[in-house]
C-alpha cells in the first residue's frame, strides 16, 4: 500500500539523515515464526532528541524497544548507537536505561538500593554512588523516602523511582515502554511534563513508546507512527497533525472527517457535493478534513474567494469547555466541525442553518484503499 503525501508542501524530515543518527535503526526486523512483528524499520534519532513510537496495541512498538534494549533477539537489521553496532551485544553491556509500564522495581531492596543498583554494577566508588543516588532521588522529588520499600510507595512514586534508577547511570539512551499507562489521568499529565523536563535538562536521548496520541504530541520532538510492524510516518507533532502522510495517520492522530469520492484534477465529487483540493488526482479517493480546519458561519455569508463552501443544518452541538463540536448535515454528508470557544462566543444551537468553509489545502486527499 503506497500513499502519496496529500499536499505538495512536503516537509523536510526534521531528524538526522538516514544512517547518521546517534541511534540508528537500519532495517530492524523481528519475526515470530512466520509472523512479522516488526518489518524492516529505519529510524535515526539525534542526540538529545525525544522521539515517540506511537501506534495501536500490537503494532510492534514494544518489540522494537526490546530489540534496542537487547532483551529480544533481532531477526534482521542493525542497531547502531554512536557509530557502534550493538546488534549482537547483550543487554547488560548496552548502557541503556529502560523504564517499564509495570515499574519493575526490585521488591526486596529499598528505594536507595534500587537507584544504586546500576551504579554498583558499574563498580563506582561508594562515595560517588551515595552522592549520585541522593542527586537522582532529589531529581524525582522523593527525598526522605530512600529507606522505604517499593511496596510502600504509590504508583506515581514507584514510576519516579524507576525513572531515577534508569537515569542515575547516565545511559546513552533512555527507553520508555508506556510508563504512564498504569497511572490515573491527572498524575499522568504531571509525569509527562516531569519526564520531559528532566530529559531536556540532562540532554538524554529518549525513545518513548505509547499508544496515547496526546502523550506523543505533547512530549515529543518527533513522532514515529507505526502500524502492523511498519512505520507509517515520521515527523514533528505538527507535521503529523496537519499533514498526515497516510489515511492511517490521519485517523490515528487527532479527529477527522472521512469521505470517499472521485477526483478529477483538483475537483473531488463527494456524492452530490463538489469540493476542491490543492493537489491533482484522478479516480477513487479517500478524503479527510480536520474538524478544526473548517469554519462555521451563519448561512448566507459570502465566503472568501477560493474557499470551499458548503451549506447545511446543525444537527448536534456539543460544548466541551475549550472547544465546541458541531455535527452538520450538508447534502447527505455529515461534517464534524470544531471551533475554539472565545469569551463572548456565540454558539450555534441545533437546527441553525450554517455555511461551512475551508481552504482547498485542508482537503487531504489519499488514494482510495483497494
Amino acid at each position: 500500500m503506497m500513499h502519496q503525501a496529500p499536499t505538495d508542501m512536503t516537509v523536510a524530515a526534521a531528524g538526522p539523515r538516514a544512517g547518521q543518527g546517534y541511534l540508528s535503526l537500519q532495517g530492524l526486523t523481528k519475526r515470530y515464526h512466520d509472523f512479522l512483528a516488526v518489518e524492516a524499520i529505519d529510524l535515526d534519532v539525534a542526540q538529545g532528541e525525544f522521539v515517540a513510537l506511537l501506534g495501536p496495541s500490537g503494532c510492534g512498538k514494544t518489540t522494537t524497544l526490546r530489540m534496542i534494549a537487547g532483551l529480544v533477539p533481532t531477526s534482521g537489521g542493525r542497531i547502531v548507537v554512536a557509530g557502534q553496532d550493538l546488534t549482537a551485544v547483550p543487554p547488560h553491556k548496552r548502557d541503556m536505561g529502560l523504564v517499564f509500564q509495570s515499574y519493575a522495581l526490585f521488591p526486596h531492596m529499598t528505594i536507595a538500593q534500587n537507584v544504586a543498583f546500576g551504579l554498583e554494577m558499574r563498580r563506582l566508588p561508594r562515595m560517588e554512588i551515595a552522592a549520585r543516588v541522593a542527586e537522582a532521588v532529589a531529581m524525582v522529588r522523593l527525598e526522605g523516602r530512600e529507606d522505604r520499600r517499593p511496596a510502600q510507595l504509590s504508583g506515581g512514586q514507584q514510576q519516579r523511582v524507576a525513572l531515577a534508577r534508569a537515569l542515575v547511570v547516565r545511559p546513552s539512551i533512555l527507553l520508555f515502554d508506556e510508563p504512564l499507562s498504569n497511572l490515573d489521568a491527572k498524575l499522568r499529565e504531571e509525569m509527562r511534563s516531569e519526564i520531559r523536563e528532566i530529559q531536556q535538562r540532562l540532554g538524554t536521548t529518549a525513545l518513548f513508546v505509547t499508544h496515547d496520541q496526546d502523550e506523543a504530541l505533547t512530549m515529543s520532538d518527533r513522532i514515529v507512527v507505526m502500524s502492523h510492524g511498519r512505520i507509517e510516518q515520521i515527523g514533528r507533532p505538527e507535521d503529523l497533525y496537519e499533514r498526515p502522510a497516510t489515511p492511517f495517520v490521519a485517523r490515528f492522530v487527532g479527529r477527522t472527517n472521512r469521505f470517499t469520492g472521485n477526483a478529477h484534477g483538483t475537483t473531488i465529487r463527494l456524492g452530490d457535493l463538489a469540493v476542491r483540493a490543492a493537489t491533482q488526482r484522478s479516480g477513487p479517493v479517500e478524503v479527510m478534513i480536520r474538524p478544526h480546519r473548517v469554519a462555521l458561519a451563519a448561512a448566507g455569508c459570502v465566503p472568501a474567494d477560493g474557499l470551499n463552501s458548503v451549506t447545511g443544518i446543525v444537527r448536534r452541538t456539543t460544548y466541551s469547555g475549550d472547544f465546541v463540536q458541531y455535527l452538520v448535515d450538508a447534502d447527505g454528508l455529515t461534517f464534524m466541525v470544531e471551533e475554539a470557544t472565545v469569551g463572548h462566543g456565540r454558539i450555534a444551537p441545533a437546527g441553525t442553518a450554517v455555511t461551512l468553509t475551508w481552504a482547498p489545502a485542508d482537503t487531504l486527499v489519499y488514494e482510495a484503499a483497494p
Binding site: A69, G70, H92, D95, S102, F106, H108, G118, A166, V169
Partner: protein, 264 residues
C-alpha cells in the same frame, strides 16, 4: 476485603469439616495424659507419666533424632537441586521442559507402596537397605517432586521484567540471578523447604521398607511400638509432634504467608 455475610449452612459445613480433621487430635490429646497402662478412651486416671516415659525410651529418642537429621539433610539437598532445576525449566524453557517437569514430578502419582517395593528390590541389590544412605535416597525421591513444583510455581509467578530491568542496568546473567532472582525466590524456597521437611518427617511407607533393626525413623518406631504394646506412649509422642509441626507452620506463615506461596 469485602465482608460478605456467610450463610449458616456454610458455617455448619465448615464446622463439620474442622471437626472431622481435628477428631484424631481430640482423642489423642486426652489419651496422652492418661495414667493407665493401656490405651483406653476416655482414660480413667490422669498423669504425665507417658511424657516422662518418652525421655527414657532410647529407641524412640534415637528414631526422633534420626528423623530430624534425615529431614534436615533431605530438605537441604532438595533446595540445592530444585532451585537450579526449576530455574532451568522455567526461565530457560528448554525444549521438552514440560515433559521433563512431568517426569520429575511423576513419583507424586505412584502409590508409595509401589515405589517402596521397587526401591526394596533395587536397594537390596545395592546393599543400601537399612542404611542411612538408602533411607536418604528414598526420602529424596518422594520429596523432590513437591519441592520442584512449589519452587517452579513460585518462580513462574515472579515478574520477569524485574530481572530484565537488572540486566539493562548492567547486571550479567549470573549477577541478575544472585542479586535479584534468588532473593525474590526466598519465600518460595521457605515454603518448599518446610513442605519437604514435613513430608520426609511424616513419611511411613517407604521408611518401613528401608528401615532395619538398628535404623528406624520416628513414625516407623511409633508403628513398631504400637504393634508390640498398647500403652499411651505414642499418644504423648503424637502430641509433641503436633505441637512441633504447629509451631513450625505458624513461624513460616508469620514470616512469609504460606497461603500466598501455595494458592496461585
Amino acid at each position: 476485603m469485602d465482608e460478605r455475610p456467610i450463610s449458616p449452612i456454610l458455617k455448619i459445613l465448615a464446622a463439620v469439616g474442622f471437626l472431622f480433621l481435628l477428631a484424631p487430635v481430640l482423642i489423642v490429646v486426652p489419651l496422652s495424659f492418661s495414667g493407665e497402662v493401656f490405651m483406653a478412651f476416655p482414660p480413667e486416671s490422669w498423669s504425665l507419666r507417658w511424657y516422662a516415659a518418652i525421655a527414657e525410651n532410647e529407641k524412640m529418642l534415637a528414631a526422633f533424632l534420626f528423623s530430624l537429621k534425615l529431614a534436615t539433610a533431605v530438605t537441604a539437598v532438595n533446595l540445592f537441586v530444585a532451585v537450579p532445576a526449576a530455574y532451568a525449566l522455567v526461565r530457560l524453557a528448554p525444549r521438552g521442559g514440560d515433559a521433563m517437569m512431568g517426569f520429575f514430578t511423576a513419583p507424586l502419582l505412584l502409590p508409595s507402596i509401589v515405589l517402596g517395593l521397587a526401591m526394596l528390590i533395587v536397594f537390596s541389590r545395592a546393599g543400601l537397605l537399612a542404611t542411612p544412605q538408602g533411607m536418604f535416597v528414598a526420602h529424596l525421591v518422594v520429596t523432590l517432586p513437591y519441592t520442584l513444583r512449589v519452587i517452579a510455581t513460585a518462580l513462574s509467578t515472579l515478574p520477569i521484567a524485574v530481572e530484565e530491568a537488572a540486566a539493562t542496568l548492567g547486571a550479567s546473567p549470573v549477577t541478575v540471578f544472585r542479586r535479584v532472582t534468588l532473593p525474590m525466590m526466598v519465600p518460595g524456597m521457605i515454603a518448599a523447604g518446610s513442605l519437604s521437611f514435613l513430608v520426609s518427617f511424616d513419611e511411613v511407607v517407604l521408611s518401613l521398607f528401608m528401615s532395619g533393626p538398628r535404623l528406624s525413623t520416628l513414625p516407623v518406631e511409633m508403628y513398631n511400638h504400637v504393634e508390640n504394646r498398647a500403652d499411651p506412649l505414642v499418644a504423648a509422642v503424637s502430641v509433641l509432634l503436633v505441637v512441633f509441626t504447629l509451631v513450625a507452620v505458624v513461624v513460616v506463615d508469620r514470616s512469609l504467608g504460606l497461603a500466598k506461596t501455595f494458592v496461585r
